[in-house]
Symmetry: C2
DNA sequence: CACATTAGTTCCCTTTTGGGTACTATAATA
DNA sequence: TATTATAGTACCCAAAAGGGAACTAATGTG
């Protein structure tokens, strides 16, 4: 399965975009887009998890969607999928070496989110 | 317009999630989800831009989608919108103080994307 | 008067995402 | 022998997100 190339010449850091005429930011967007991917990566950054563990941490995701998102992350080589040949089935998901490089970014995002909640939700509750 | 609260108790760093019973990661996901938001924030991190400037940097986005995404980022207080009362219209978009706190994250994402392209695209071209 | 310009909006259509239910395999358990 | 458990898949339908093209407002220019 051939990956789609993403050309992008307007990147304001294109001189740092190495030898590819592709904006790295667009690549990141492709990887991380999707309603559950950031959350999945975040949970896996702590430790590998079974399918059912991830599902229980994401109460609103359906089995079908979770499978889809996991497959997509696997295709992008962000996570691995390890099947244990047991009954009932056991499948473990975890970050690849490449995926682990996202951890500091995820941690900063978490920090930002926390700060955001403080600023924005406090602002709202004081207005109400 | 009341923002939607996002409850989430399974966050593996919930003890650091301050006083809100809301996973910050989910909040971040809400803010940066959307096909163009990360790119828009990235471009604005360099300098404020006019609507038409952003559009020209995102050749594949339609006017409607760009407007939508900008409105959404504005609602989340990540960017500001400044209308100049001139003809033809001039509207400037830029990061808010809160939005500027995303810059280091965006820069790391860019770095990750660049690294990803090197590893994954080189791997592919050597297989082909 | 016609045209260009900018930042939109509106309408309609397609694609993606999501939701529900049913179905599968296999071994252990009751 | 029927049930349970896990990690899915298949199918069908509804909702949301996204895309394309046409339209608008207001003024300056030819």
């Amino acid at each position: 399965m051939k990956k789609q190339l993403i050309k992008h010449e307007q990147c304001h850091m294109r001189d740092k975009c190495l030898k590819y005429d592709i904006c790295p930011m667009l690549q990141v967007q492709k990887i991380v887009a999707g309603k559950w991917k950031i959350l999945i990566l975040w949970y896996l950054s702590y430790s590998p998890l079974r399918f059912s563990d991830i599902k229980s941490k994401l109460p609103d995701v359906t089995q079908k969607m979770l499978t889809q998102q996991l497959r997509s992350l696997e295709e992008d080589n962000m996570i691995y999928r390890k099947v244990y040949p047991v009954v009932p089935p056991k499948v473990e998901y975890g970050l690849t070496d490449l995926g682990k490089k996202l951890i500091p970014i995820l941690e900063m995002m978490h920090g930002f989110g926390a700060e955001y909640l403080v600023q924005e939700l406090d602002k709202e509750s004081s207005v109400d």
